[in-house]
């Protein structure tokens, strides 16, 4: 059984967040998964490529949320503006709501941010293992249970394990953000070898999974939300891409 868990989670090609849905013992209770959104994004991209309308805006909905994917026209974002967009992206990526589970080689998620006081490793001796879902020891889903998508107030209790409508997991090793500099994260995110072979548009579309849609900007329980808004973050990623993904070290 454990081999099966590994097999599926290890055969994925460097996604930003590893979501081995079929491998996980606790299935989604609702029908939607980021897997289907992934294919939707791919389809949209294919249609766009063939029809020559790459700048066509698309939106992906989840419950009542709507995130619009509408990149600025090619050539319309200066390098300076791109760097400003990057600075905001970095604020989001390095924020505890994102970085705590982007811990790179370490399989220990972190507890940090204003709601925790002193930065520390996740309690309960949690080790996500190479599976990144705790399959070797304790599944993240033991406490971070999967909730229904239409249950909005599920995370109101302080200090309880956050729950979303998908399986909880550490981000892949390549997407190392915790404690990393702006330069390091920038280099990682613009490199197809370490960003899951994604264009910036695909990265923006990837942000439509439930952890981000319903939790990172509305974490509840006294936790500080990620900065800006999801739509502003998506806009920044698209603008950064159009500006040629400039990094501070360039």
């Amino acid at each position: 059984m454990i081999n099966k868990l590994f097999e599926v989670s290890m055969t994925r090609s460097l996604p930003l967040v590893s979501l081995p849905f079929r491998a996980l013992p606790i299935p989604l209770t609702s029908g939607r998964s980021s897997g289907s959104l992934g294919s939707l994004g791919f389809l949209i991209l294919l249609v766009a490529v063939f029809s020559g309308t790459l700048t066509l805006s698309t939106s992906v909905t989840a419950a009542e949320d709507k995130v619009v994917i509408n990149p600025p026209a090619e050539g319309s974002v200066s390098q300076q503006e791109g760097l400003q967009a990057w600075a905001r992206i970095f604020e989001v990526a390095s924020h505890p709501r994102c970085a705590n589970c982007h811990t790179g080689e370490s399989d220990r998620p972190m507890w940090s941010g204003p709601s925790y006081g002193k930065t520390r490793v996740h309690g309960m001796n949690v080790q996500a293992g190479t599976s990144r879902i705790g399959a070797e020891t304790l599944l993240c889903g033991t406490c971070h249970t999967t909730k229904s998508e239409d249950w909005d107030n599920a995370n109101a209790t302080p200090h309880a394990a956050p729950r979303v409508a998908m399986n909880w997991a550490l981000a892949p090793v390549e997407a190392h953000w915790f404690g990393q500099t702006s330069e390091q994260i920038c280099a990682q995110l613009r490199n197809p070898e370490t960003n899951g072979d994604r264009t910036m548009r695909e990265i923006a579309e990837h942000l439509n999974h439930d952890l981000i849609l319903h939790w990172a900007w509305a974490p509840g329980g006294g936790r500080e939300p990620a900065p800006y808004s999801l739509q502003e973050h998506v806009n920044d990623i698209l603008a950064w891409g159009v500006a040629g993904t400039p990094c501070p070290q360039d």
Binding site: G123, N125, E136, L138, L139, T145, W151, H159, A160
Partner: protein, 153 residues
């Protein structure tokens, strides 16, 4: 709504957001799973859902779906104890006992996914279930003994 606990179907009329632990204890009178913290910090409420460990204080009954719940009452029977229960008795693990149904459920599920765990792996898993009586050394011995017994069949 209908839920399946220890192989029996129960009809319960509760708020859909009620945690499974509340349903088990207060509605069904199944009191093996204990209330310790209510916020996924202690593991006293651990049950199996389709064979995997879940903190029942964290799972709303609406999110259970058709999955089957096993509590310590359904793990073994007095006549035919589960290997982990037998090892717990043999090693006299419990002190006050409050955390122990959670510990046993945790260990039973762990040995299914990792039949031959190292001391470090046992510590990594079992330290997520709090025991304020400090029975961890006996827990480790009992898990090792149960692993051996299960492997011998």
């Amino acid at each position: 709504m209908q839920i399946d606990v220890n192989g029996k179907a129960f009809e319960v009329e509760v708020e859909p957001e009620m945690p499974l632990l509340w349903v088990l204890r207060d509605e069904l009178g199944i009191t093996g799973p204990k209330y310790g913290c209510g916020i996924a910090q202690c593991g006293a409420c651990t049950v199996h859902v389709d064979g995997f460990v879940v903190r029942s204080c964290q799972l709303a009954v609406r999110d259970l779906g058709n999955r089957k719940v096993t509590t310590i009452e359904g793990l073994g029977s007095p006549e035919a104890l589960h290997a982990v229960q037998a090892a717990w008795i043999e090693h006299q693990v419990a002190q006050c006992g409050y955390c122990q149904s959670g510990q046993i459920m945790q260990a039973a599920s762990f040995l299914k996914t990792n039949p031959n765990p190292s001391d470090e792996q046992i510590d990594a898993v079992m330290s997520s279930n709090l025991c304020r009586c400090g029975t961890y050394p006996r827990i480790r011995s009992a898990v090792k003994a149960a692993a051996k017994k299960l492997q011998e069949g």
